[in-house]
Subunit: 225 residues, 2 copies
């Protein structure tokens, strides 16, 4: 149960602009939770009683399609808030949040956040800016989904994982995604992912070891049309 005032993660998030009093208040009512890999933080349709500030770990936000498949909409990382949108518009969650590795999150009750939003203009402007950025990214995602091939979308997500989540000591991507996860990010069949990764291997773009992936030719992945 750390002190929010000192928390480095908070300083990365929209909560960074909160003042002493507000932070003390959050410190007093927040609840720290550990979430294991594969566990669900909240589900599409849940009414959220607060937001989650991610301290460590990575989480996927998915939406269930009519065919019963999951589609990943966004990967979320330390320093981002989960569930803020549902709290702001007071609706049930639009997406399901599932941990991709072990996570630590701080749960902050809804009324605490709403109170700060209404009182502290700098804070609501800060949340507004984050949301504007999220919206911009979502728009880009729409265009990519609509216009890029499965092959290119898969190359893109590999590069994205490399750039945003880094590599381990032997240069393999850190985030452990299954072929199924890749499929639901790219929006394609699992077999298509497997086939395309095999193709990438043949072309010397990547190499794999079990489910781990290492980039061999960054530039060509990026330049792929």
């Amino acid at each position: 149960m750390g002190d929010c005032e000192q928390c480095m993660v908070r300083k990365l998030s929209a909560l960074n602009v909160l003042k002493g009093e507000e932070i003390k208040s959050i410190s007093g009512c927040k609840v720290t939770k550990r979430i294991k890999k594969g566990e669900v933080v909240f589900k599409e349709g849940d009414m959220l009683n607060g937001v989650y500030c991610i301290s460590s770990g990575v989480c996927k936000l998915t939406k269930l399609t009519e065919k019963g498949k999951d589609q990943v909409v966004k990967l979320v990382i330390k320093g981002e808030l989960l569930g803020q949108r549902s709290v702001i518009i007071n609706q049930t969650a639009n997406l399901t949040a599932t941990a991709l590795n072990d996570m630590e999150v701080c749960f902050i009750p809804k009324q605490e956040i709403l109170q700060d939003l209404l009182k502290n203009n700098e804070f609501s402007f800060s949340v507004l800016k984050r949301m504007a950025t999220d919206l911009k990214e979502a728009e880009i995602a729409i265009v990519n989904m609509a216009q890029k091939s499965v092959r290119k979308r898969l190359a893109d997500i590999i590069l994205y994982l490399h750039n945003n989540f880094g590599v381990d000591e032997s240069n393999y991507l850190k985030v452990p995604l299954s072929r199924d996860d890749f499929a639901s990010i790219v929006g394609t069949a699992t077999e298509s992912v497997i086939r395309t990764l095999s193709q990438f291997k043949k072309e010397g773009l990547i190499k794999t070891s079990g489910k781990k992936i290492q980039i061999l030719n960054y530039d060509e992945l990026e330049l792929m049309e």
Copy 2:
């Protein structure tokens, strides 16, 4: 040059929560513009000096892909603000706005909006709620792009146009989209749109007259998988 205080369109928008003083100030500095069908309001990459409040007409927001195609991200209608995101995060426009029919818009300078956002908490919370809703819709669009067939996406947009923009006296869709526009909304080739519309005609789902489209079987368009 109407008076914003009385403006019904403003009352539909996020500007509805502004108070007397603020509205008078906007009334004094806003500029009303007429934009003809096909004209560009602003272009991807432009630095916007304000936001546009749409009084009448419909406009498409597009993004240019690497292949040089336009992808429609959103259709925007009376009562919505254009360019708010760019103004809030102080970046160049991410999308191009083009009039689909003759439009009337009110241009409100950036500093006016920013000043109100920083001073009036109710206003920034109102904008925040709108943006949260936009984000939710964008997420749904990502899932639809990823998971639905061209055939279903085309059916969806026809239903959307019917529900949101209505029909004329002979039941044809009011918004005049070309096959090209449909293609860049659905994210497919123009020929695929034409073919699929022909298919819909054969199946008795729609009928056409020139470029105008009329829905004959709403339910089946909706139930299509």
